[in-house]
Subunit: 365 residues, 2 copies
């Protein structure tokens, strides 16, 4: 259990204490409600640095009541899936991008750095131990939640002197718990998700807790999620916890797939990046990171230039948007279940994730 | 332990389990590092409502690793002081304002409502039990930290179905841990504390974790805290975790005490409100809630119209600002230790808090 005052923990130092009472695995359930038998925990403190990683039975955390993760939101997380392929092998999808983003979030939160490949190897070992939990299904997978919190045991807004990095795994059924095929969104400029000079481009907890209230106002309008607007021109930024894409004939008459640029208020989604990479490789239409406003969306809709709008995220993969309540109007968006761009992308990504299409985007467990 | 599915917990249901091993009280220490012997905990869940309040020995919390307070920042807090008067009686300062603000934060965080007077009575009982911890000193006090967190044990951004309200008490020495008499601030528009449509007017954790990074950049410029600016005209909003005041001869030639208005991005500080109330009652100069920009501050400074700038907050009380690093210049602000407006306000507030001046702002424990 030797600590490292500089650098990183090492997967080679991993201590494994297997659970003596494994759970009975339920059928696929709601997203994020049932966890596997084990978890990974790695402690850090300013004096001794990183401690040896530990895989042990899933159990509650014991935290000091002044812990600054609970008072000042000094916390961040990641989310990625492990898929069971048709060949029965387990695959992660571009996990290095999650590790990069986690490193960026940690820097922004003043939490310590670590070696990304060491964390990935520890996660691989955890998945290997709980591998029976990965569903034998094309429509379900196991969700991996790396979490990094300050455990600073004193009050006052300051840099943490202790921290805990932990990883839990849970069953991933449907994220939105809905029978509807396309999402309904509520867009109102009175709530803002993120802003320039803030933390909207990091996966820090504070970005999410402040959105619940708006989400419940959306529900009062019969909508499932919030479409987050920004600025006086009502820029389209994100939807719920997803990045957003428009597939349209743009103002210049060109077919285009467009999503807002990473200007500090947009979360750099892995699915977002993969959609951009995939469609650019196809080279069939223009693919852009550009500002998009509600006025542009509205006029494209009226002029029948809008083909499809969809959200993307790890938990939901790709979700078409069916309607938007905006300024007293319920905008109905075109949506077809088959032969749409979103369904084509969904299939191509799923083929990669399940090993049917060979790709260097997958990482074998 | 009967639960209440609607309404609130009741102080009359309080269960008290005294600690069997009280701590040895140290001399006055850094703010927020040493806690008293007991804590108050009150659990809530969506099925049974509020449970009976419990006062028990101070100890770690046991939290599910998926707890949404740790992932999505569904958390809020309050801060208030208990003072020992010259008459040896213990007093709170305007605690109803803290209860009101806590209720507003809870609504914004989608955490359940409660009866403010019931919580205040539970806190009074907790202080009464740990009363020996309140310093016999005019320069030290005991800090009360009500905290309210989601304990929802599943992933996914959604309204909590369980929560924990708890209160801890700690010794309150100097907040800024400095020998300097006036604060040095760093003002750079590249970081923003809060924004319209966000949660800057609530005491939610996410408002604080995102500020650490800027605070450490401030330190690299030799400054103690960040002066938070907003908008293209560099409005002055807050400093570190304090509200901010200018005492000056304004552009119209009038003596004025001014602080930014509560427009959604400013925390409604209790000390802030008390300074406004107190100085309005004096009726000696203009007292305003108004927008203030760096350009206005700069020209007042150059024209020797600035008398004093100071921050206010519960933890720090009132702190004069001595200098601001802004756009490559280190602005030196006028500051006198005695006979300043800030020292006069500090004395008047301390006289109320310690019972030397009778006031309906105090609440006897």
């Amino acid at each position: 259990m030797a600590g490292s005052s500089t650098g990183s923990f090492k997967a080679a130092d991993l201590v494994i204490q297997l659970s003596s009472s494994p759970k009975i695995k339920p059928d696929v359930v709601d997203f994020g409600t049932v966890f596997t038998d084990h978890m990974l925990t790695i402690e850090w403190n300013a004096n001794e640095g990183w401690q040896a990683p530990l895989i042990r039975a899933f159990r509650n955390l014991s935290l000091h009541p002044a812990c600054s993760a609970l008072h000042y939101g000094v916390q961040l997380f990641e989310g990625l899936m492990v898929y069971r392929g048709d060949d029965n092998r387990l695959r992660l999808f571009r996990p290095i991008l999650n590790m990069n983003r986690m490193t960026n979030s940690a820097k922004r939160a003043c939490l310590p750095a670590f070696d990304q490949s060491e964390l990935l190897e520890c996660i691989r070992r955890l998945i290997d131990i709980d591998q029976d939990w990965v569903p034998h299904s094309d429509s379900a997978s196991l969700y991996i939640r790396p979490t990094f919190i300050s455990t600073e045991p004193s009050l006052g807004v300051k840099k943490p002197t202790s921290a805990l990095l932990y990883v839990i795994l849970c069953q991933a059924g449907s994220y939105f718990n809905t029978e509807m095929r396309a999402l309904s969104l509520w867009a109102d400029p009175k709530y803002t998700r993120a802003w320039k000079g803030g933390t909207g481009d990091c996966k820090m907890g504070g970005n999410y807790g402040g959105t619940l209230f708006a989400q419940y106002e959306a529900a009062s309008y019969g909508c499932q999620q919030v479409l987050w607007l920004y600025g006086e021109d009502h820029q389209i930024t994100e939807a719920g916890t997803m990045n957003i894409f428009l597939h349209w004939i743009n103002d210049d008459g060109d077919e285009e797939l467009a999503t807002p640029p990473l200007d500090g208020i947009i979360l750099p989604g892995i699915t977002r990046q993969s959609i951009l990479d995939l469609t650019k490789k196809w080279d069939e239409f223009k693919v852009s990171e550009r500002y998009l406003t509600m006025a542009q969306l509205y006029s494209a809709l009226k002029q029948q230039r809008l083909k499809e709008m969809f959200g993307s995220g790890t938990a939901c993969s790709i979700c078409p948007v069916g309607s938007i309540v905006y300024q007293g109007t319920n905008l109905q968006l075109p949506y077809q279940e088959k032969h749409s761009l979103s369904s084509r992308i969904t299939t191509e990504l799923a083929d990669i994730q399940h090993g049917r299409s060979p790709s260097d985007w997958t990482y074998l467990v």
